[in-house]
């Protein structure tokens, strides 16, 4: 029987809903957990990061303008698509993380469930984090959570899919758009997630995924004047995390620092990540006839 050469995938960036190569033309070798060659991934540059910010900024108002119900459905649809490709995600996680097929399957299960959990929050955040406020005067006063805007995130280095999902979903469910730098040595599940997002109903630019050296890319994002917040979850180097937090002060970015101890991504996430990337707007109006 004649052997057939398989078609191999080119792993690219995901910016504004499209899959460009790095503008720099660079790539880097991605190995599996045993050190065998897996793929050449795009090595994102400063220019790619800035393009991603531009895409995220232009997508943000429309994403927030959609009804919460609509955002919830769009995010739920993403979970459907991950489920449909679960075999591919399991393969990716097995090769990236070197875990057993059974463990990879449970990570994919948890990632899908996590995504569904966050999707359901879309039309509940305002009820849980908002309020009507009994002020001492004839005024109607209410507070509503609103998105911070454009968030730049460094995804966890170890948990290549569940960790990534656990960082991205709470940012976008609140109406923000995101530029996420995928796990540096385990980027392939992130590229597969990009393929899911591209064929789901999530508007281009809402999620932008960069692969490469996060220590090279993240300083450009931390000091970018059009980024409103930083999620440093995947930054393991304390010195770099501190420098990024210093850079973030240029426009008073909100900063979610790296966790003090390695998180167990299977744990109940709670509301902290959603809360970190929403603002509160309070509206006053007189009451009278």
């Amino acid at each position: 029987m004649e052997s057939r050469a398989d078609i191999r995938k080119t792993y690219k960036l995901f910016i504004g809903g499209a899959f460009p190569r790095s503008e720099s033309g660079r790539s880097y070798k991605v190995d599996d957990s045993k050190g065998a060659f897996l793929a050449n991934a795009a090595l994102a540059s400063r220019k790619d990061a800035r393009d991603a910010v531009l895409a995220a900024r232009s997508a943000q108002p429309k994403w927030w303008d959609a009804t919460a119900y609509n955002r919830g459905q769009i995010l739920y649809r993403v979970a459907e698509m991950i489920e449909g490709r679960r075999g591919q995600f399991e393969d990716d996680v097995v090769s990236a993380e070197g875990v057993s097929r059974r463990k990879a399957a449970s990570a994919v299960d948890a990632a899908i469930d996590r995504w569904v959990w966050y999707a359901g929050w879309a039309d509940k955040i305002a009820q849980v984090l908002g309020s009507s406020n009994p002020v001492a005067g004839p005024y109607f006063n209410f507070s509503m959570p609103e998105p911070t805007g454009v968030v730049a995130a460094v995804a966890p280095q170890d948990s290549s899919l569940l960790g990534l999902v656990s960082v991205v979903a709470p940012i976008i469910v609140g109406g923000n758009t995101v530029i996420v730098v995928a796990s540096q040595n385990r980027p392939l599940p992130a590229v597969t997630l990009a393929e899911v997002l591209a064929t789901s109903d999530v508007p281009g630019g809402v999620v932008n995924i960069l692969t490469g050296d996060y220590a090279e890319i993240s300083p450009w994002l931390a000091s970018h004047a059009d980024v409103n917040a930083l999620d440093l979850t995947g930054v393991g180097d304390a010195g770099l995390a501190k420098q990024l937090a210093v850079d973030a002060a240029v426009n008073v970015k909100r900063v979610l620092p790296p966790p003090r101890k390695a998180p167990d991504w299977f744990d109940d996430p709670g509301l902290d990540r959603i809360r970190a990337f929403v603002e509160t707007t309070t509206v006053w109006h007189p009451i009278g006839v």
């Binding site: 406020n133 002020v135 002060a249 426009n251 008073v252 603002e279 509160t280 707007t281 309070t282």
Partner: protein
């Protein structure tokens, strides 16, 4: 028609200002170890009111150590319902001593007695009363069943609302179980020192509240102290950024309430008489020394002339002068330095081609003053449209459509507050969800309440003060 008013000065007999004040550490007034002293001045008369201690590094060490020890031994172990009682006591004492506090505030700050009496002091008491009730209900704050205090909070407050800003900082910190090292503003320490006396009268356990007076160097010592767990700052964006850099990577909690350049947007269907009152209140309240002041008036082109005529007419009736006079509308500028900053920005407005109009009011000979001033012909590129003036100076721009108003309002690195004047409810709600501002006043302006969260977007800072949302500034979420 002009109305003449007989002078109606509030008596200062109610206050007894000491010649010298120590620092308030561990429940006692104490002289600084390695610090010196500085003078606090009545900005309306340039009279020296008192000599104030300048806390140095050993003093801040003592204050933080006292706060730490009070946190460990007393405050963190006390049930919430007991903490609440101390906050209720503080609220009551502020109410009981309200006249004294109002006079002290006006003497030290220069704001009209009418404002310190009717706004600053009652709201300060209300903040303690509101937060007292939270102390034993923190599991309902929305931060999980077991939210935890940070520990020692280092708090730095500005001079524009000295006692009120103290209340905004101290009340939630104590209610949530933190202890406090507070640095009042250099030019307005007196009501904070009176509050220290109130803490003694309330038998607040020593070290729960420590007050270290001083300038920017003392502020840095507080915000950079390694044993402070949480830093809360209200002040300029420039200093806020310095603090954010200093706190980066330390694991400390941080909330910042910084500058603003609020748009006050008047549509052609607004009730114009009310809008004019709102514009006046928006920018001339407290001499414009308000971070959320409506310093950019965006008025729809079709009513611009009408609004400006009415505004100027109204401004000529404002009475500038002795802040202790109960009829005074515009008091003194808080310091010579601030007056110079206002003047410098006003001159930039002249130089960049905007048209200046100032109310033709008499300016007292002594003290620091600035007449209500309105710039027309302002473009978005002018410094007076972009930079926070923090004085009684209004920049007027016009717009034609709601989209243009929104675009101009959001065209600022700041995002603290905004005003909307229109009779159309749907437009208010449309604007409110698109304005990048933490507080939106619709058909009103400059309203404050302890139940109402306050704080900014973008370079106006992060975190909220007041309301359930404000508790998150002093609590770590615990459990889910």
């Amino acid at each position: 028609m002009t109305f003449e008013y007989a002078p109606a000065p509030e008596s200062r007999a109610v206050v007894d200002i000491a010649a010298h004040y120590g620092l308030f550490i561990d429940g006692q007034f104490t002289d600084p170890i390695d610090g010196g002293a500085f003078k606090t001045i009545n900005p309306a008369t340039e009279e020296v009111l008192a000599e104030i201690s300048d806390a140095g590094s050993a003093d801040v060490d003592r204050a933080v150590a006292s706060a730490r020890s009070a946190y460990k031994s007393t405050w963190s172990k006390m049930p919430g319902r007991e903490r609440a009682k101390y906050l209720y006591r503080l609220a009551r004492l502020i109410q009981e001593r309200s006249r004294e506090l109002a006079v002290l505030e006006t003497l030290d700050n220069g704001k009209p007695i009418r404002e310190s009496r009717d706004v600053d002091v009652p709201l300060a008491a209300a903040h303690f009363f509101y937060h007292a009730g939270w102390a034993d209900k923190l599991e309902y704050a929305g931060l999980g069943p077991r939210p935890r205090a940070y520990g020692v909070a280092g708090q730095i407050i500005p001079w524009n609302f000295p006692l009120l800003m103290l209340a905004w900082k101290v009340a939630p910190a104590l209610a949530t179980g933190n202890t406090v090292v507070l640095k009042p503003a250099e030019t307005t320490p007196l009501t904070a020192l009176a509050f220290a006396d109130i803490c003694q009268q309330a038998d607040l356990p020593p070290g729960v509240v420590n007050i270290v007076t001083g300038g920017p160097a003392t502020g840095r010592l507080v915000s950079e102290h390694p044993d402070v767990d949480k830093v809360a700052f209200t002040g300029s964006t420039e200093v806020g950024k310095q603090i954010q850099r200093a706190v980066a990577g330390t694991g400390k909690g941080l909330t910042l309430e910084l500058g603003g350049k609020a748009a006050n947007i008047v549509f052609d269907d607004a009730p114009l008489d009310e809008a004019v009152e709102g514009i006046v209140n928006g920018i001339f309240f407290n001499q414009g020394h308000v971070c959320c002041a409506g310093s950019r008036l965006l008025v729809q082109e079709s009513v611009a002339d009408e609004v400006l005529d009415a505004l100027k007419r109204r401004l000529t009736t404002l009475r500038l002068g002795d802040p202790m006079d109960k009829n005074t509308d515009i008091g003194a500028i808080n310091s010579r330095e601030q007056r110079e900053r206002i003047d410098e920005l006003v001159k930039s407005g002249d130089a960049e081609g905007a048209d200046r109009w100032s109310s033709p009011c008499a300016i007292p000979e002594k003290g620091w003053w600035y007449p209500p001033t309105v710039f027309t012909g302002v473009t978005q590129a002018h410094r007076i449209a972009r930079e926070e003036i923090f004085g009684p100076v209004l920049s007027v721009l016009t717009f034609r459509t709601p989209d243009e108003a929104l675009e101009k309002a959001n065209n600022s690195p700041y995002g603290l507050s905004a005003g909307i004047w229109t009779e159309k409810g749907s437009r208010i709600l449309w604007m409110a969800s698109r304005l990048r501002a933490g507080v939106v006043w619709a058909n009103t302006f400059n309203r404050f309440d302890p139940a109402s969260p306050f704080g900014g977007y973008k370079e106006s800072g992060f975190g909220r003060e007041g309301g359930r949302q404000g508790l998150a500034a002093y609590l770590k979420s615990g459990g889910h």
